[in-house]
């Protein structure tokens, strides 16, 4: 391979593909006499991927090394992401609606097409994730391929640059030395005052500043790669917990996802709204058309830790950890977990109260309250009166066979089959009691159950979340920001000054902000009596 390397006239051996000698800056490609400005991108160093093409590994590598490919990946991601917002994603359609029909019903043929193409779950699709993976690979490969040679050539650059290199910079000027021309040491000082690092060799100068800004892109790419790794880590076991926890007031529940260790108790759910007559907000609330605007959702929670070994099914041995009002934006945090207030249900049925009445006299012979989550078998009303619960259906309906049954265990529509025992009916009379229903399936009764009232409780909808990837995402984000700022807010500037007989040559280069460089050169040249260099790009026009 070594025979393909390029030996410059200064004696330096450059890697194959180099456009500008790493040491002296002599252009190695094209016509040396050309007046065209040099392409200074990556210092004209040999980007490795362009130079070897043999194995399949190299071919894959070279593909992802291309900035063009990288830009295409960005564009594809951009377009795909935008498409995903045309109609709502599956996770944002109303709960319990069937996506197979929802999109067609809501958005017609286009909606159907959207669904058929799988765009309703676009961001979780294999091809979207593959695009992100390709972006990650492109970031790694392209950065490595450019950083290494760029680092090499900036490290190796020498004070004295080839004449042709200097002539072909955007800013280039020749000053004939006269009595106004400052001494070399004064020029050096002027440059140092502008915070340049100045090197001297044989009466020639090389001034450079902010080289670190050239590393900005690579630093921010590292940040992005870390961020993507963080996103990937989520799929590893134990890194991520996302559970929903519905907690009734007064209840203590095991916190799902905490591996048995923690329990949460709700001391109450609070919903506060803004005062509709509040001077400040009156107009806005009226305009919104809502009956009220929520001010606070809060669950007064108590966190417990389960101590010691415990066999499933047995009562936990709880130790109080802390009390914390969980509000939106103020989750309860402990041991890497966070519990968020996300939803609520107001006035869920908790218990029902009845009286047992004598139909004829209309008098009540006793009352009872049935806990809808744990009804008792029998309620003694004294004096020989008793109510037996024969069957209980928390969420009552008739099934296909016409039998009473329950849809779920939540008391949304509680119904009872009760046996009312009285001195006149020692075997009891059977009544079917449900909300707004009172049937006597086995014939006319002498007694009836009269509904009195219900007791309700609020239920908090909480989310239990653990995300062990946050720290790496945070570091990735921070490094990205450092990288972008480093690359964007500083500019790498270089000035070469070369004595050639009775002339002083000056050329200069920056990776961006030529205006800033120009102003700096104006200041330096006016101080030192040098000729302000010409903008050779402008002259061409």
């Amino acid at each position: 391979m070594s025979d393909k390397n390029i030996t410059c006239e200064c004696g330096h051996v450059n890697p194959y593909g180099t456009e500008i000698c790493e040491v002296c800056g002599k252009p190695l490609q094209g016509d040396i006499e050309s007046k065209k400005l040099l392409n200074m991108r990556y210092e004209g160093s040999a980007r490795r991927s362009q130079t070897y093409k043999t194995t399949i590994i190299d071919k894959i590598w070279n593909f992802f090394s291309s900035v063009k490919v990288g830009i295409w990946i960005i564009i594809l991601l951009l377009v795909a992401s935008a498409i995903g917002t045309i109609f709502p994603q599956e996770m944002y359609i109303p709960p319990l609606s069937d996506p197979t029909v929802y999109y067609k019903e809501q958005y017609g043929v286009l909606g159907q097409l959207y669904y058929d193409l799988g765009f309703h779950n676009l961001y979780g699709s294999w091809w979207y994730m593959l695009l992100i993976a390709a972006l990650g690979l492109s970031l790694i490969v392209a950065s490595l391929d450019r950083f290494v040679p760029l680092y090499r050539s900036l490290k190796k650059q020498r004070v004295i640059r080839h004449e042709s290199f200097m002539k072909r910079q955007k800013y280039f000027g020749v000053t004939e030395i006269n009595e106004d021309t400052a001494e070399l040491q004064d020029i050096k000082k002027a440059l140092e005052n502008k915070r340049y690092h100045v090197k001297e060799e044989d009466g020639h100068l090389f001034a450079e500043k902010n080289r670190f800004s050239r590393w900005g892109p690579y630093v921010n790419h590292i940040g992005l790669i870390l961020f993507l790794i963080g996103g990937m880590l989520r799929f590893f076991p134990g890194m991520y917990v996302d559970e929903v926890l519905w907690l009734r007031e007064g209840e203590t529940e095991k916190i799902k996802g905490t591996e048995e260790a923690y329990y949460l108790q709700s001391d109450g759910f609070i919903l506060e709204t803004y005062d509709n007559n509040d001077e400040k907000f009156k107009n806005a609330i009226e305009e919104s058309g809502q009956a009220a605007v929520a001010k606070n959702y809060q669950t007064d929670a108590v966190l417990y830790k389960q101590v010691g070994e415990r066999i499933a099914g047995t009562d936990p041995n709880l130790e109080k950890v802390k009390e914390h009002p969980i509000q939106v934006n103020k989750p309860l945090k402990f041991d890497g977990y966070a519990i968020y207030q996300v939803d609520y249900k107001l006035n869920e049925l908790q218990s029902m109260s009845f009286t047992m009445d004598n139909k004829e006299s209309g008098e009540s012979v006793g009352d009872l309250t049935i806990d809808l989550y744990n009804p008792e078998k029998s309620y003694d009303l004294e004096n020989g009166y008793r109510v037996e619960v024969m069957d209980y259906f928390p969420d009552f309906e008739f099934n296909d066979d016409g039998e009473p049954t329950t849809k779920s265990k939540v008391p949304n529509n509680p119904a009872f089959i009760l046996n009312m025992v009285s001195p006149d009916h020692p075997d009891g009379e059977v009544a079917f009691v449900a909300i707004k229903q009172n049937l006597e399936p086995l014939g006319e009764n002498d007694y009836k159950m009269s509904f009195q009232n219900v007791d309700t409780k609020n239920v908090s909808g909480l989310v239990v979340r653990k995300d062990n990837t946050l720290w790496i995402l945070g570091i990735g984000g921070a490094i990205f920001m450092i990288g972008v700022i480093q690359g964007m807010y500083w500019n790498h500037r270089r000035i070469w000054i070369r004595r050639k007989e009775h002339d002083i040559w000056l050329s200069s280069h920056t990776n961006k902000n030529w205006y800033g460089l120009k102003r700096e050169l104006e200041s330096i040249t006016s101080q030192t009596g040098l000729q302000m260099p010409m903008d050779q790009a402008e002259q061409k026009k």
Partner: protein, 399 residues
Amino acid sequence: MAQLSSNLLYVAFFIYFAASIIFAISLFGRKWRKSDEETHAKKWGMWGFALSTIGFLFQLSYFITRWIAAGHAPVSNLFEFTTFFGMAMVFAFLIIYLIYRSNVIGVFAMPVAIIVIAYASVFPSDIQPLIPALQSNWLKIHVTTAALGEGILSISFAAGLVYLVKTVNQSKASKSTFWLEFVMYSLISTIAFVVLSLGFEAAGYSSTYQFVDQNEQQVTVDYTLPALAGPNDGEYVSGNEFGPLFEAPGWMKGEKAAHKLNTLIWSMVGGLVFYALIRLILRKRIGAAIQPALKNVNEELVDEIQYRAVAIGFPVFTLGALIFAMIWAQAAWTRFWGWDPKEVWALVTFLFYAAYLHLRLSRGWQGEKSAWLAVVGFVIIMLNLVVVNLVISGLHSYA
């Protein structure tokens, strides 16, 4: 306090207007002034800058007084956000002006900022109470930083526009001249939209229709512009008895879909009328009419300003619209990222400017190509502000 605040905003608005005119004089006025070009430009440019600064200070006072009046940072609804975005644009312009002293950027940037602020005025400006999710310090940190980033990026649009007006060959019609005119038309349509909205509102126009929405619910919708496009199967209820001339297609069933369509049609038609009038008066393309005034503009400097604005704005935007947004989302919505449309469009904007930077730095897209990209970037930012808020509704409470 709230009254004082909105008065301050009016004052700021008119000062911006004056500043734009001054900047225009600094450029166009060269022909009729006797003084030599450089001193003329310098003098009027300085006045333009001074006025812009004063206007900015007035708007800043609006912002502060409204904050005091509301008890929370006034960046919590569309009106507040859009005015703040306009203010951020002016602020970004002031910074760029301090660096580059370019009057021509002011000629384009200030009117764009004015249009943005005028656009804000069509939204209800009542002070709103904050729903629980918005009660966070991250609200102000995230929104202000994001808006500032977008404001700086918008300066890149203004510079790109200058570049295009200056360099696009106006001697014959081409794709470039068409799209340049299209950009002009879009800006004019926004003005038309604002003028029509405020005009009909001042005239007290309102008519109410009733229709069945996607949830099979009977709902009513108030039209503040005469109904060209009525709700699908809608029924007139009360108010002014004009139209509708036709009904919105059946699949547009969202609560406000037909209303939004109606507004869009009015803006487009109104913009077309305004545009046609201007063309009739000028008897040439708007771009061609402005071009001679930019004869002395250094296009390379304008190109650099355009790039510099992206270089400064991109990190600010990323920090505000993605990083701070994620920190807040983690606290308010339990996850730092949830593919909410607004989040996605922030990502789209980020990706677009990332592509812009790679095209410019690695593939040498400068000058005209880069200027067109800056225009597209601004279109994306505007899409995020207008379409995503008004058409695609999500968690962001601005709809």
